[in-house]
């Protein structure tokens, strides 16, 4: 056991951090700066980070769950308003179905409660939700087939919106216009979907960890600068203890997430899902606490639209919901230990 990052992994982190620090939004007003956002999108496209899970000749992904985690974490930390999670999960679906990589950016569609990949049954009146839709013209989902789930796609027509100001979602249907992905050569077995879910959960954990790191830094900076009673508020023990707790939660989430990201490829699907579910329950609960703390540290300012604190909270809330919130993942953890039957996967 040696869980230190390799030099290559450290270099990847540095490079992702550099891109998002240079081109990510530094203030709420910059979220509307299309020129900046386009440059960020172009930089991410050029980096190849969205293709980390495409299939190599031996069928394995180009990079492991750990590399994808590293990029997701840095994008979360810098509030990167650029698609990554959706395209990465779409690439993983194509790999599992034996379909060639998509030449254009595409994302995935989830069930309307976000807890699982959408599965469209014909005549179904359920809508679906495409996540992280920026730049995508299409979302992947499942349709039932005679021997397992078949990979399918649906076109996107909206730019998306939603609670997260950095990663828009789009409601699809009902009804959904769905067509099979013709190049797919395999159906998706339950084990495939379990591993895919483990990857998705560990990426949302990574995003939450990054979001917490960014939020703590925002709060720390404000507490150092803001003065009351002729002292910076960061010198007051009450404020110090809130920020200390926020940092400690972030570090705990980081350790659990590191393991989840490793387990995606290194462990059997059920083990990988259990690892990811534990990390997700921990990280989702922690992230809400941490972002709320950072709003509180900002006082009245923290309750204004112009303060970035709510942008972190919103991003954390969406990441928390994707592929199951705290309750769903606690149930998965318990189920893995033989308590309760439902592993939360449908």
């Amino acid at each position: 056991m040696d869980v230190r990052p390799s030099p290559e992994q450290q270099a990847l982190r540095d490079s992702a951090a550099q891109v998002v620090d240079r081109l990510g939004p530094q203030a709420v007003g910059q979220l509307d700066d299309q020129e900046r956002a386009s440059k960020l999108d172009a930089a991410v496209a050029a980096s190849g980070w969205r293709e980390l899970r495409v299939e190599m000749e031996d069928g394995a992904p180009l990079a492991s769950g750990v590399e994808t985690m590293i990029v997701a974490e840095e994008l979360g930390r810098g509030l990167g308003d650029v698609s990554f999670l959706g395209p990465t999960l779409a690439a993983e679906l194509r790999r599992l179905a034996g379909a060639p990589p998509s030449p254009t950016v595409e994302t995935v569609a989830l069930a309307v409660d976000l807890s699982s990949l959408a599965c469209s049954v014909s005549g179904d009146r359920q809508p679906a939700v495409a996540i992280d839709v920026q730049g995508s013209s299409r979302a992947l989902l499942l349709v039932p087939g005679p021997d397992g789930h078949v990979l399918a796609q649906t076109d996107l027509h909206s730019a998306g919106a939603g609670l997260d100001l950095t990663r828009p979602s789009a409601v699809l249907g009902p009804p959904l216009a769905v067509a099979p992905v013709e190049a797919a050569v395999r159906t998706l077995a339950p084990d495939d979907l379990t591993r895919w879910t483990a990857l998705g959960l560990s990426l949302t954990c990574a995003d939450l960890v990054g979001t917490m790191r960014g939020a703590v830094e925002l709060g720390r900076t404000y507490a150092t600068q803001r003065r009351q009673y002729e002292a910076s508020i960061g010198s007051f023990q009450a404020v110090q203890h809130m920020l200390a707790d926020a940092l400690v939660l972030t570090e705990g989430a980081r350790s659990a997430t590191l393991h989840a990201a490793w387990a995606v490829d290194a462990r059997a699907p059920g083990e990988a899902l259990a690892a990811a579910a534990a990390a997700k329950a921990y990280s989702a609960r922690a992230a809400r606490d941490v972002c709320e703390t950072v709003i509180q540290v900002h006082g009245g300012i923290g309750n204004t639209w112009e303060c970035l604190a709510h942008v972190y909270l919103r991003r954390a809330l969406l990441s928390s919901g994707i592929l199951g919130d705290v309750g769903v993942n606690l149930a998965r953890v318990l189920s893995h230990r033989g308590i309760g039957g439902d592993d939360g996967l449908r």
Binding site: M1, D2, V3, R4, P5, S6, Q9, V66, V216, R220, A223, T224, A231, S232, G234, S235, F236, Q237, V239, Q240, H241, L243, A244, D245, L247, V248, E251, G252, A253, R254, S255, A256, L258, H259, W262, A263, A266, A278, A279, A281, Y282, L330, A331, V333, L334, R337, G338, I339, G340
Partner: protein
């Protein structure tokens, strides 16, 4: 390459330990009660004799000379087997390694590691708790000896101990942090009075008061230089904050495994809220196991303890108290007049946010030394 899995050597070690545990698990209850304490010395000897204690310490002092990550494997296997945790002595060993001269190390470390000599730690006093540097116990030189006078409290396991690591003031003229020295004081002598204290879970073997009234210690038992006591204390408490040093992951893991079995055996007896508390305990213990793996891996770079110990102490505290809440929820309240083991496990968990430096102090340290927030 980042890898939570076992190397071939680690895997071989894990199998060997697992097989040994099948034959040698003393089956003590997971809670830290008097019964547990009574069996702890024999457990220590047994682990040591089989080569499963002090994995990362040097062979000269009785350790196994292996990388620190072997401690994680030991903790994982102890928890999986439902065996008691390993003895929590690492902080004492680290303190003596960092500050004791060769003579001190040779005389004392092997006995600590092999379990022949039991030690307690005389740091806190009635008027020196979080503000440890204001301690008033004094050591006055008389020829080749120091004479110790003072009052120590929260001295864990003092009534079993042969030795006490005592902090005492040897210089009253300098700033309070600089006038403290550390001593290895033999406990079995006139001039030392023991007063056990009863904890909120009824346990009497852990907490104690120790009164020193003219106790004697040879000058050669001073650990470090005169005035080095404060630095030694900081070394010791910083290791006392590290779950990897303490082996607590095994203790928590065993409690959660026992509670899980209880629910699996009779699922209908437990409501959603109770099971939810157990679910959180599982998540917290798993997080801590992984966090310890991360910290012990960092040590492969030669990184040792720093202010991050305060992060680890707070995490460990939250884990222990979540485990305590699960014990309360699953086994703690519906046993009027019967077995109060789980209630006592819960009650014991409240001490974790106080011992080894309160959570308030840890937060102060995180704020000032890691977040860099200004002092008030």
């Amino acid at each position: 390459m980042m890898d939570f899995g076992d190397s071939p050597e680690e895997s071989e070690f894990r199998s060997r330990l697992r097989a040994w545990l099948q034959e040698n698990n003393p089956g003590l209850h997971s809670s830290t009660g008097d019964e547990y304490r009574a069996g702890a010395a024999a457990w220590h000897q047994s682990l040591y004799d089989a080569g499963f204690f002090g994995m990362s310490w040097s062979k000269e002092i009785g350790g196994q000379g292996l990388p620190t990550v072997y401690e994680v494997i030991v903790d994982e296997e102890l928890a999986a087997a439902g065996a008691p945790a390993r003895p929590s002595l690492g902080y004492l060993v680290q303190g003596i390694l960092a500050h004791g001269n060769d003579d001190i190390q040779r005389r004392f470390l092997p006995g600590i590691v092999n379990g022949r000599d039991r030690w307690c730690q005389g740091f806190s006093e009635p008027d020196a708790g979080s503000d440890l540097a204001s301690l008033r116990t004094r050591a006055d030189r008389q020829g080749d000896e120091y004479v110790i006078t003072g009052h120590k409290v929260w001295t864990s396991y003092s009534d079993d101990a042969e030795w006490c690591l005592v902090l005492a003031r040897t210089d009253h003229e300098v700033a309070k942090h600089r006038g403290i020295s550390a001593f290895a004081v033999p406990m079995h002598q006139p001039g030392i009075e023991q007063r056990p204290l009863r904890m909120i879970n009824g346990m009497t073997k852990e907490f104690g008061e120790v009164l020193f009234d003219g106790a004697r210690v040879p000058v050669s038992n001073m650990i470090g230089e005169p005035g080095e006591g404060w630095r030694l204390a900081m070394t010791v408490v910083s290791h006392e904050r590290e779950p990897g040093e303490l082996g607590f992951v095994a203790r928590y893991g065993k409690i959660v495994n026992d509670l899980t079995r209880k629910v699996r055996d009779d699922p209908a007896a437990f409501g959603a809220e109770q099971v939810r508390d157990l679910g959180w305990a599982m998540v917290e213990v798993e997080m801590l196991r992984l966090h310890v793996s991360r910290r012990l891996s960092d040590r492969l770079n030669g990184i040792t303890h720093g202010p991050e110990g305060s992060i680890d102490k707070l995490l460990m505290t939250w884990v222990e108290q979540a485990v305590g809440h699960a014990a309360l929820a699953i086994g703690g309240i519906d046993n009027v007049g019967g077995d109060d083991t789980w209630l006592n496990t819960y009650l014991y968990s409240r001490a974790q946010s106080v011992m080894g430096g309160t959570s308030q102090i840890q937060r102060n340290l995180v704020a000032s030394r890691i977040l860099g927030l200004p002092s008030s």
